[in-house]
């Protein structure tokens, strides 16, 4: 099976547009980009249909050997199993829709061909990431999506903030990748392979107390988690994602909501054989996820920039996925990943449509009443908001409920996870409806004739009253809207869980999982997965609580932002310092700036005594840099330019080496 076509088609599109796009008309650029993405999507559908109609599972495609050293072999190989099939369809499908949307959205921007070339390049790397059959090829995609995302965040390079945001994303991801890489090295060392099939076989055969014990697996899992927190914007490496909103809005939808940021979740689920055998690491995953979900939601409540609210909400939803993965409910995590791709992609595209309609404004305080002007955008966004808030029968309801239930009931779970998750769900519902009400209801608060959209976000320079977006943009909204409503039904009755079971044997012990995977189990899923019947009663009660939370969040938002619009400011005033702290995102950026980045720069500058690069990184620092500077003062002579002092260094170095070696010799 020619799986390699799926990632390679977008690459071809990227290459054509990148090399010749400059000379193409806009129409041709768009046609090329769309055609190759569509072809990739169609081919993915063909593969999936063969797969679902009882084809051989998993489908493997070994293209060539990348590297062979003795027994250690890495290949250019692709793999479609249940897990990567879901990812593949989400990436190509949502990706294709966003390509269509971009055609209209980016119409007035410069660098049209550059944009589509980068976007296609991103698709290539993302598909490589999800289809790779070994960790190293996965890492190629992993780094590649980071690179593409960096290019796209910095797309409006005339804005310094955009370039800085790009840099921040890249560097933060490098920190995470560092962990991932060490994990890979440890895998090679202990298991001698990076091919998924071999590796997971070997991992599974390890019995505790063997030479390579649980400790090593835990270390590997924690290091992988470090990589995942970077890519998926979890605590402590989430800081880059809100800044990444500097990129064009469709990019935020594709990369920073639907696909790339979920790579960390995918990676953990893919590595479930390792994580499930490292319970400590698993708990850490769950704790990080839970904390992130809660923490980001509180920030989301205070933000007024429409894209930033969505960014924090993305961080928060990713936290849910981590929570699910952390209680070994991998299928729940992937399920939520999928529904999230639909509704969050839609929310971003809707936000883009709004921004487009009001001439580049992103501040929700200057919106309002847009329902009248943009009905399609409103109704689709309404569906998505219901979905993310967990209103029953919308997609997000099923996936979030599954996560909360697993967080409570899984052997790795705990009621604390559940409680925090439910509170977060309440907050989610509140700030999402707040967004919806502030934007679409009441009176339009923006200037009817915006002075100049230029230089503002996304550089959309429309004038006049707000207007509905063109059909090229609304089409994807409608399709994603439908998916946000019905997308959850694949999970009803544990169908999704059973589907993924061969890849992600979840919370249940091995024999039970085997039973689950058997065909007849699909008929009676509820009893199969929940042997104790009183549990299902409990499940209903917990579900009722979360539904209640969703609606009360909605109600509160309605009360504050529709009924009594004077109240929010008063509340903010009365909360004072706390509100400011949350509004300023807990000052995390500043703390990072002061504690890590500044000393790094100042330290190395002090060592070399040369001041440049001021303002490259925000944040301030005085005290801790001083210490670095003082030590640096001594180092200053190292590069004084004076030959004699250089000779002195050589001689001193020689003396040290000589003394050490002689000591070794006489020992």
């Amino acid at each position: 099976m020619t799986l390699w076509l799926i990632p390679l088609l977008p690459l071809a599109g990227a290459a054509i547009n990148g090399l010749f796009g400059r000379r193409f008309s806009r129409k041709l650029v768009a046609t090329v980009a769309l055609a190759f993405t569509a072809a990739s999507f169609l081919w993915a559908l063909v593969i999936a249909s063969r797969f679902l109609s009882g084809g051989q599972v998993p489908i493997a495609d070994h293209v060539a050997t990348w590297l062979q050293i003795g027994d250690f072999r890495i290949e250019y190989g692709f793999l479609v199993d249940q897990l990567s099939m879901v990812m593949m369809l989400v990436v190509t499908g949502v990706g294709f829709l966003i390509h269509i949307y971009s055609v209209a959205y980016m119409e007035h921007e410069g660098g049209y061909y550059r944009y589509f070339s980068y976007l296609n390049l991103f698709m290539f790397f993302m598909l490589t990431l999800v289809l790779a059959n070994n960790y190293l090829l996965m890492f190629v995609g992993w780094e590649g999506v980071g690179l593409a995302s960096y290019l796209l965040i910095g797309f409006f390079f005339r804005r310094d903030s955009a370039a800085d945001a790009g840099k921040k994303a890249f560097i933060t991801n490098r920190i995470g990748d560092f962990g991932f890489l060490i994990a890979l090295f440890l895998l090679v060392k202990n298991f001698g392979t990076l091919q998924f099939a071999d590796l997971f076989d070997k991992v599974a055969k390890y019995s505790p107390g063997a030479e390579v014990g649980v400790g090593v697996l835990t270390a590997i899992a924690l290091l992988m988690l470090m990589g995942a927190t970077g890519k998926s914007a979890q605590i402590p490496l989430y800081v880059w994602l809100p800044d990444a909103m500097e990129g064009p809005t469709p990019v935020s939808a594709l990369i920073h909501a639907a696909t790339m940021v979920t790579a960390g979740v995918y990676m953990i689920c893919r590595s479930n054989a390792i994580f499930s055998r490292a319970p400590i690491a698993l708990t850490v995953v769950a704790i990080i996820g839970t904390l992130t979900a809660f923490f980001a939601a509180t920030i989301g409540i205070t933000q007024t920039d429409i894209k930033r609210v969505l960014a924090y909400s993305t961080v928060s939803q990713l936290g849910y996925m981590f929570m699910a993965a952390g209680v070994a409910a991998y299928s729940a995590a992937i399920f939520h990943l999928m529904t999230h791709a639909f509704f969050k992609g839609l929310l971003f595209l809707g936000a883009g449509s709004v921004i487009h309609g009001v001439g580049g404004e992103q501040d929700m305080r200057k919106m309002g009443g847009l329902k009248k002007y943009m009905p399609w955008t409103f109704w689709t966004m309404f569906a998505a908001t219901c979905a993310i808030s967990g209103i029953p029968f919308f997609a997000g309801f099923y996936s979030k409920d599954e996560i909360l239930w697993q967080a409570y009931s899984s052997p790795h779970g705990s009621w604390i996870f559940w409680l925090v998750g439910v509170i977060t769900a309440y907050m989610t519902s509140f700030y999402m409806f707040r967004l919806l009400f502030m934007t679409f209801t009441g009176e339009y608060r923006g200037a009817i004739e915006p002075a100049h959209g230029h230089g503002a976000h996304d550089d959309h320079g429309h004038h006049g009253t707000p207007h509905e977006s063109p059909w090229m943009m609304l089409g994807p909204l409608v399709i994603l809207g439908i998916l946000s409503v019905v997308g959850g039904y694949v999970g009803v009755g544990h169908r999704f869980e059973n589907f993924l079971a061969p890849v992600t044997p979840s919370v249940l012990s091995e024999p039970q999982t085997a039973a689950l995977a058997a065909p007849e189990s699909a008929a009676l899923p509820a009893q199969q997965s929940e042997p104790a019947s009183e549990n299902s009663g409990l499940e209903d009660e917990l579900m009722a609580i979360s539904i209640l939370c969703a609606f009360s969040g909605l109600g509160l938002a309605w009360f504050l932002y529709v009924k009594r619009r004077d109240l929010p400011d008063k509340i903010a005033d009365s909360l004072g310092g706390l509100y400011t702290t949350v509004l300023n995102k807990y000052y995390v950026d500043q703390i990072y700036g002061a504690a890590i980045i500044r000393p790094l720069i100042n330290g190395s500058r002090a060592i070399l005594w040369r001041g440049i690069d001021a303002g490259a990184i925000d944040g301030t620092l005085n005290a801790s840099a001083k210490g670095a500077q003082e030590t640096g003062g001594a180092f200053r002579r190292l590069q004084s330019g004076n030959i004699r002092s250089y000779a002195g260094w050589v001689a001193a170095g020689a003396a040290v080496v000589v003394i050490y070696m002689v000591w070794m010799g006489t020992r």
């Binding site: 890249f170 890489l181 590069q639 250089y646 000779a647 260094w649 070696m661 010799g665």
Partner: protein, 479 residues
């Protein structure tokens, strides 16, 4: 009586020497106003023929000239790398010399002679030969560093390089003398045999001093101080050569000296040197404004990554082959980066500050794209040679349980990505400061750049063949 087969084992060196002399003879024969490009073409042909000669040489492995040279896979590997580096540097010099108004005959002659030295360094197994080879290569580069005679920086760079270089060589020699005293021989194999019988303290002292000299040549901390100054002042194509060629050769020597003689006791010394080099190199590069200087610090850092491979002693074969692969990958990407820098610098090396690269992405998209490939490789992004080299080095390190060194290395490479990235940001995300058009890349330099791009990507996408060869060669060295 010297058997005639011996001459085949130095065939590349013979070819290079003949062409070196040839270009120096042609130069004065040309009229004052003649086009001197032909000299460059002749020396490029010389390098190509030497490459061919290397393949002939590869067919005749064995010792030559009373055991002072050994042609094995290891030597062949470094011959190919060094000659290719020289070829690329010659090609990128065509235009550069004209723009900078530099006399041509001696320049190419010195590059070719220097290459002879580097080639011999990789095949010498007798310390006398080794010393002569190192001196041939060093003296050539000392002079080359000062070739922009009108620029005070260039003269200063040359003077610094010379004084510190000969100072370090003196240490190296003292080490050799003591090694001779400790073992009674100057032959690598004989020394190894003697050291296996037992190691007197004097041998440790000797190894220490030899490591000082070689550490200087490869710009490893704490002997790296000269690097930034010398690289900043020297002509850009020469920096391309001396940041890769003599370094590769010196690493070859270091491998032979440390592994070939089964030298004891150096583990922690190299460990610390590796950690220091990576750290100093990356931190130093963070605050630079001059591209050449930044790349100089980056080359210190890369020397550090390379040294990591040395201490993967648990699995020497893996370590040695990782070091060899890294040398090749580093040569490809660094020569390429300097090719772009030397083209962009223009007359008098005017444009070498990072600020000057602002908007290069739009002023000259192809040049920017080419430089991007090299920078990505230097950062270590997958599907480039730089990634694979790092991957392989750290894999060797981890399999020898050097977890902490790996951590230091990977943290460093994360920090390192910052300054390469700054250049990328400059090129693609800043407005051009001048609208002056970048002169189009001439054919020869373009060919060199293209070659480096192909090599960088080849080593990333199809690393297998080179890696296999490196492993084979490592085997011949370690046993």
């Amino acid at each position: 009586m010297i058997p005639s087969g011996d001459y085949i084992r130095i065939l590349p060196e013979i070819v290079l020497s003949i062409f070196g002399m040839l270009v120096m003879v042609i130069d004065p024969l040309l009229g004052e106003n003649d086009d001197r490009k032909s000299i460059g073409v002749v020396s490029a042909i010389g390098a190509l023929l030497a490459l061919g000669a290397t393949f002939i040489m590869a067919g005749h492995p064995g010792e030559a000239f009373y055991n002072i040279l050994r042609v094995d896979d290891f030597a062949v590997f470094f011959h190919v790398v060094v000659i290719l580096i020289a070829l690329a540097c010659i090609l990128m010099s065509f235009e550069y010399l004209k723009v900078q108004e530099i006399r041509q005959g001696e320049y190419y002659g010195l590059i070719l002679f220097g290459t002879v030295g580097m080639c011999l360094m990789s095949s010498a197994i007798e310390l006398v030969m080794l010393f002569v080879a190192i001196e041939i290569s060093s003296i050539s580069t000392y002079i080359l560093a000062g070739f922009r005679r009108r620029a005070a920086e260039s003269a200063e760079s040359s003077l610094k390089y010379f004084l510190l270089g000969s100072f370090a060589t003196a240490f190296f020699l003292y080490g050799i003398a003591l090694m001779y005293g400790a073992t009674g021989s100057t032959n690598v194999d004989a020394i190894a045999a003697a050291l296996r019988q037992g190691t007197p303290v004097m041998a440790y002292l000797a190894i220490a001093l030899m490591m000082v000299g070689l550490g200087f040549k490869v710009a490893a901390a704490p002997f790296q101080v000269w690097t930034p100054d010398v690289y900043e002042g020297a002509p850009a194509p020469v920096v391309a050569l001396m940041s890769t060629g003599p370094k590769a050769a010196a690493f070859a020597v270091l491998l032979r000296v440390l592994f070939g003689t089964a030298a004891p006791g150096w583990f922690w010394a190299v460990w610390i040197a590796a950690a220091l080099s990576m750290t100093i190199g990356n931190f130093g590069a963070l605050v630079q404004t001059n591209v050449k200087r930044m790349l100089a610090y980056s080359s210190i850092a890369h020397a550090g990554y390379l040294l990591v491979a040395f201490i993967a002693v648990r699995n020497m074969e893996q370590g040695v082959s990782a070091a060899m692969f890294y040398t090749a990958a580093y040569a490809a990407m660094n020569v390429g980066a300097f090719a772009v820098v030397s083209h962009f610098a223009s007359a008098g090396e005017k444009y070498v500050s990072i600020e000057d690269y602002a908007g290069l992405g739009r002023r000259s998209p192809v040049l920017a794209a080419v430089l991007t490939v090299f920078l990505l490789s230097l950062i270590g992004i997958p599907i480039t040679g730089g990634f694979f080299a790092k991957f392989y080095v750290f894999r060797a390190a981890v399999s020898s349980n050097l977890i902490w060194l790996t951590v230091i290395g990977l943290v460093n490479s994360a920090i390192g990505s910052y300054y390469y990235l700054r250049l990328l940001v400059m090129m693609y995300m800043k407005e051009p400061q001048s609208e002056e058009s970048v002169p189009s890349v001439p054919f020869a330099a373009g060919f060199a750049m293209a070659g480096c791009v192909v090599a960088t990507l080849y080593l990333g996408v199809f690393p297998n063949r080179v890696l296999q060869f490196a492993i084979e060669s490592a085997r011949t060295l370690v046993h």
